[in-house]
């Protein structure tokens, strides 16, 4: 896990190094041009005149000390900026992931009982939809629907600033109301994947020898399905959910941009517009961290599910 983060940091540095133009150029641009001497001064100030490996080492050390640089657009340390936005993204990513897994498994199990029935058709259609519709487009469609036609959920931001007082629960439900649309949008794609996968894996398990054994024991259909088959069919779904974590984070960036959800996604969007590279790189490191933690949780779940897996 630490290794992954280290590699991301090194990769970041490499890209910075290889990219045309450096920090000095960017700063010079925002200042409206600078002469050769000022540029050299700037480069020295940022350590750009030192040998490659020293620069790399310095960069890694700085990141390890949680110094991700300075945002010239917000004029704040990148770390502070990210910490301020991080919880919102975390909330969105994990709530969408859990929701889609839960509903996906439920529907997948239901559909598998009748492989040619209506529910199976629905799962297949929906998974096609989930794959084909770009998540930001789904978001925009929902946003149009809920702002112009059925305005019951807020379509922008995370809090209602008119609510100033009130206890914890008032704020909690306020955030929940705001969370609803972004969460549904993000969950819709992954729900489609998970339900389809769960249906397929359930169908495979239902053909397995040990399911035949369970039936031969005289167990009822419900016991065979929910006790013997379900537990075995979960592993591939959970594994896939783990692999999907990075895709969920990617999706969250687009969804946040659509709904102005104040997380890392909108921050990334703004930093692209303002060419605020240090912020973008910081976000990359943080979201990688989030995905690694997600993967770790997945591994632990799998371990709890299957006695054969050792970590």
């Amino acid at each position: 896990m630490l290794l992954v983060l280290l590699v991301v940091v090194v990769l970041n540095f490499l890209m910075l190094h290889l990219a045309p133009g450096d920090i000095a150029d960017t700063i010079a641009q925002t200042m409206g041009g600078a002469d050769e001497q000022d540029m050299a001064e700037l480069r020295k100030q940022y350590g750009l005149d030192q040998p490659f490996f020293i620069q790399l080492f310095n960069y890694v050390v700085r990141v390890a000390l949680l110094d991700f640089g300075h945002s010239h657009f917000y004029n704040l340390p990148v770390f502070d900026l990210i910490m301020e936005r991080f919880p919102a993204t975390l909330l969105l990513v994990f709530s969408a992931q859990i929701l889609s897994l839960f509903v996906g498994i439920l529907l997948g199990v239901y559909a598998a009982q009748n492989p040619n029935g209506l529910s199976s058709l629905f799962v297949n259609m929906f998974s096609l939809f989930g794959y084909a519709a770009p998540v930001f487009w789904t978001g925009i469609l929902l946003l149009i629907a809920f702002s112009l036609h059925i305005p019951i959920f807020p379509v922008s931001g995370m809090r209602d600033i008119t609510i100033e007082s009130g206890n914890f629960f008032v704020h909690f439900f306020d955030v929940l109301r705001h969370l609803f649309l972004p969460m549904i949008t993000l969950a819709s794609i992954f729900f489609a994947y998970y339900s389809r996968l769960c249906r397929a894996s359930m169908l495979e398990v239902l053909g397995a020898d040990f399911v035949r054994t369970a039936k031969a024991k005289g167990l009822s259909k419900k016991d065979v399905l929910l006790k013997h088959a379900l537990k075995n069919s979960l592993s591939p779904v959970i594994t896939f959910a783990g692999l999907s974590f990075s895709a969920v984070v990617s999706g969250a960036i687009l969804v946040e941009t659509v709904y102005s959800w104040p997380g890392l996604g909108t921050l990334a969007f703004n930093s692209i517009i303002s060419r605020d590279t240090p912020v973008l790189l910081g976000i990359l490191i943080f979201s990688t961290l989030m995905v690694t933690v997600g993967n770790l949780l997945t591994d632990l779940t799998l371990k709890a599910l299957d006695p054969r897996i050792k970590i």
């Binding site: 084909a132 519709a133 930001f136 487009w137 984070v249 973008l280």
Partner: protein, 290 residues
């Protein structure tokens, strides 16, 4: 015959069989026809509908159908129909070439990892795992933001971040197939490693790789649209995602400016995934024998 088991079957080549299964599926054929239609629209369409997508031809926000513009005009008064026709070319080109890049990297890494095992596999799979953990969109954003947004850099960025799934599938297929007796038989009849990898194992591993690659084409198209939506697109060419992205601010005033290009993406990717499903059914020997 000598044996009690009788197999009476005309001699058909498996490839032919695959095509037959594929073309028997209505949804797969529909998908293929739509896909070809869209490609034709993108590449020949401009000849029949010569309006330049960058030209400001009329007032901004003219609704669809009014004033002679079938799909209306955008915030700068540009013809949306023309943008969609011309955007098809870029979206499809980027989709296919990015998938090709991923396929190339993924098959290379996956096959060598699966075939050689040991430290080669260890190293290559660590790299693959790393790319699986990396939030792909963010990484591509960083690449494009740093190296500039041209069609080439976008294609390479998408290709460079999406190959992990191909590598995993290729590797697991190689691990499975290399243990099969016909590979050992081929080795003991004098085939060298390269022949084993490319002539013996890879053709047998092709089915899931092809299916995955087909899906990658669709994923790459949505990926490009996502980047364009965030403002990271080549300003010199028009793509569907870019149309949505540039009108993003005005969605509530002129919903059609984002709906139509979205529909175009949706239909294209849907067609690709229908083709992918068809390929899967046709190539999967387990399903075929049923």
């Amino acid at each position: 015959m000598l044996e009690n088991e009788e197999i009476e079957e005309p001699t058909i080549k498996p490839v032919k069989e695959i095509f037959q299964t594929f073309f028997k599926s209505y949804s797969a054929v529909t998908g293929l026809i739509i896909l070809i239609g869209i490609a034709v629209m993108g590449f020949i369409g401009p000849l029949f509908y010569p309006t330049d997508p960058f030209d400001m031809v009329w007032m901004p926000f003219s609704p669809p159908g009014a004033d002679g513009f079938l799909l209306g005009t955008d915030y700068l008064g540009r013809d949306i129909l023309s943008q969609i026709i011309n955007g098809a070319r870029v979206s499809i080109a980027i989709g296919f070439s990015a998938a090709l890049v991923s396929c190339f990297i993924g098959v290379g890494i996956g096959s060598f990892a699966g075939f050689y095992g040991g430290w080669v596999e260890e190293t290559l799979m660590r790299i693959t795992e790393f790319f699986q953990v990396l939030p792909t969109l963010l990484f591509a954003m960083v690449i494009v933001a740093l190296f500039g947004s041209s069609v080439l850099s976008i294609t390479l960025a998408i290709g460079a971040v999406s190959w992990a799934s191909v590598a995993r599938i290729t590797r697991s297929e190689f691990l499975r197939i290399k243990e099969l007796d016909f590979v050992l038989a081929s080795r003991s009849s004098g085939s060298n490693n390269m022949a084993l990898i490319f002539r013996v194992i890879l053709p047998n591993a092709a089915a899931p790789i092809i299916v995955q690659s087909a899906l990658l084409v669709g994923a790459a198209i949505t990926f490009e649209a996502g980047l364009a939506f965030l403002g990271l697109s080549d300003p010199n060419v028009i793509s569907w995602g870019q149309v949505i992205g540039s009108n993003r601010v005005y969605i509530l005033d002129a919903t059609y400016t984002v709906t139509f290009p979205g529909v175009a993406i949706f239909i294209t990717v849907l067609a690709i995934s229908l083709v992918g499903d068809g390929l899967n059914d046709a190539l999967n020997p387990k399903l075929r024998s049923r």
